[in-house]
Symmetry: C2
């Protein structure tokens, strides 16, 4: 038995209503999974080695449901544009550089190091259309010990010349990766049609077949920007909605699909997402930075749609999930003021839930300290931000989320392993 007891202040969310906080409690881990959390350590666990963290507190690791690793170098650049212009002017030219394996290795090393540094213990990642560089990213992620789904992007129409794939080749490359990594556990491939406008029906159909054959998850983009939504309508006038295009080609797999953004989903689209257990990846910073809009997250929550948060770099300008979480709360306040007074605003426990257990559910039992959950955790040293007085654990978490920095994270665990990743 590989077991460990941690004694520390603990704070996490079992649901989106409230925090569970326990001061100087005991968290018992066995084989990478949480056996339980206790105010007093039960006698049967007394023989297990104990580590005590007397200052600081443990939280579940952050889950980033949507990011484009190859856009890392563009962080902070070009944010005066909107989606379709921005893709052509910034995203596609940068992604084209990933035909060069050496460049991919350099950039992806930095991305992986930054994910580690930012406490993003699980992520769902878009690579580029290149098989080679995507395999580099899979290898580097695996080496880091972080958990991830990594997708080779598929795009065979309406893309830049350099990135437009031959349809058959795109499917072959995708299948080769699915096959090679079929037995991986912590870092796995995910089928990644870029978005409807850049995928031909034949490509989407083929990807739907592969998803079925390999029982693979799927990620893509949905209803991010009004021009994009119009474009999809023109391309697929026979489909009821943008989401129904994915559905037609077998790309909304039950509880295994992530759709990023979902800013402009219609009622029937939301209903389809709920039925299929699609995860909406809410990317508030990106949606603001690219003037896309504000996704109605409170509607998604009320409607029972699976939901998590995404940084969407480099449409979003940071990997730091606390900032994504704060921005989710912020835009929900503005949506309330300027769009819908009835929908309510995101609370801190709700947003924290989305950034941990909400998105974590895509990985299984991830994002909480409840029994049987993977022990993915961050030890937060808040002594530099806590200030003068005595604060409750919930206020200390508030301060960390709103004012903390990467340097506050002093330990990172995934499946019970402490990750000391330092490679540059």
């Amino acid at each position: 038995m590989d077991a460990q007891v941690y004694k520390s202040d603990l704070i996490f969310t079992k649901n989106d209503k409230e925090f569970t906080s326990m001061e100087q409690a005991y968290l018992v881990v066995e084989n990478g999974k949480v056996l339980g959390v206790f105010d007093r350590l039960p006698g049967k666990y007394e023989s297990i080695p104990l580590k005590a963290y007397e200052s600081g507190f443990l939280i579940p690791g952050f889950v980033d449901l949507h990011l484009h690793a190859p856009q890392y170098e563009n962080l902070g650049i070009g944010l005066d544009e909107e989606l379709l212009t921005w893709l052509n002017k910034y995203a596609f030219p940068e992604e084209a550089r990933f035909s060069d394996a050496g460049y991919a290795e350099e950039v992806y090393k930095e991305v992986v190091r930054r994910l580690w540094e930012n406490g993003t213990t699980r992520s769902v990642i878009f690579g580029t259309a290149h098989k080679g560089s995507t395999e580099i990213l899979l290898r580097l992620m695996k080496k880091s010990g972080l958990g991830a789904y990594v997708g080779k992007v598929n795009m065979d129409r309406n893309s830049s010349q350099e990135l437009t794939e031959d349809t058959e080749r795109s499917l072959e490359d995708t299948e080769a990766i699915l096959d090679a990594y079929r037995n991986e556990r912590l870092v796995k491939p995910i089928i990644t049609p870029r978005f409807v406008p850049s995928c031909s029906p034949r490509l989407m159909e083929g990807l739907g077949r592969l998803a079925e054959k390999y029982d693979a998850p799927v990620q893509s983009h949905l209803s991010e920007n009004t021009d994009e939504v119009e474009w999809v309508k023109e391309l697929h006038p026979d489909c009821e909605s943008y989401a129904h295009v994915y559905e037609r080609y077998g790309l909304l797999r039950q509880n295994r699909t992530i759709m990023a953004h979902c800013v402009y989903c219609t009622g029937s689209e939301k209903e389809l997402m709920r039925e299929k257990g699609v995860f909406a990846a809410h990317c508030p910073i990106s949606n603001t930075d690219l003037t896309s809009g504000i996704a109605p997250v409170k509607d998604f929550i009320a409607g029972g749609v699976n939901l998590g948060l995404g940084s969407d770099i480099s449409g979003g300008h940071t990997l730091w999930m606390p900032e994504v979480l704060v921005h989710a709360i912020q835009v929900s306040k503005l949506y309330y003021l300027y769009k819908d007074k009835d929908c309510g605003r995101l609370t801190l426990p709700e947003a924290f839930y989305l950034a941990t257990k909400g998105g974590g559910s895509f990985f299984g039992k991830v994002g909480s300290f409840e029994e049987d959950y993977s022990f993915d955790a961050l030890l937060i040293d808040d002594c530099a931000i806590i200030g003068q007085g005595k604060r409750s654990l919930e206020e200390r978490l508030q301060k960390f989320i709103y004012t903390g920095e990467k340097g506050c994270i002093i330990k990172r665990f995934v499946e019970g392993n402490e990750l000391g990743y330092t490679e540059r």
Copy 2:
């Protein structure tokens, strides 16, 4: 002659339309003021000592037009509330603690250190109603070498019992500070009625008289939140608008007054502000965090109203002005999407201008590297954020603004003096 030449990459905004950027240029400083910037150093300056910064770049220091120093300990706390509730629940109880000089000294030392660390070379600060703690803040700011206006807050109605002042005493304390610091140059007092609801007509009238007598600047709050605006209407039904209440009591002094927020200003209010040269302190993070709304900054710019940015801690959750600047851009995009498609969005040069020369104008010639401007500057080391490829100076600035951290600031200058402030 106390003169110095700096050779470095330089980027700044002479106006809000575009950056002026110069690679490896020469900036000549004499007696704390900029004599000029040159691509080639003129012969007459060749005998002046030269410092060369071969990596990194120089920008003007940041100007924060509105912050509450005594709320520093509350950073990140209580942001699920709106203004009037939040004041009573969080701001007032914390400010009441500043009757204790020892506590004030501790917290204010930290605030001053953080302003220095964040590269905020000039700021306009609310203290508390306490004369003693305000003098402590004035003293600590002076010692730091940073530039500031610091105000003892006045409040004699509708406040918590602990903070409600006797009207005469409030005026006497204010006058004592105005008198004691009348000859200061870099850190000066500013008359600070909290906001109309907490100042009786008699108090405002007395403050107007003091402003005239000491030719002193004034700061307050204006039209931040709809409930607050309604309240002012009830308190002063005879005044045309909220701003007109201040005007009635002589508190809108020509080009010497800052009004924070200005989210809900009416047309005639804006016109009055323009006439009086009132500076609007746009505090986007605070206005979002407290669900106040989005100030129509593009309208203010188009209407010729003086404008700068404020962190408004702890209504806002950070002192880091690049984040304030980014949020100003972000909310302008959402205002465009959800409120007014005709008003346009804030560009990066516009927002940078507001954070430097826009707010700096309240201090005189501050916030630019043009001739005769105070040499207030930050040396930015961007090697950790610039990444792989060669970037233009403007893109390097974009990256610093969107993704930089305090650690990127490696030197800070105010009036030509490098500040090595380190006291904790």
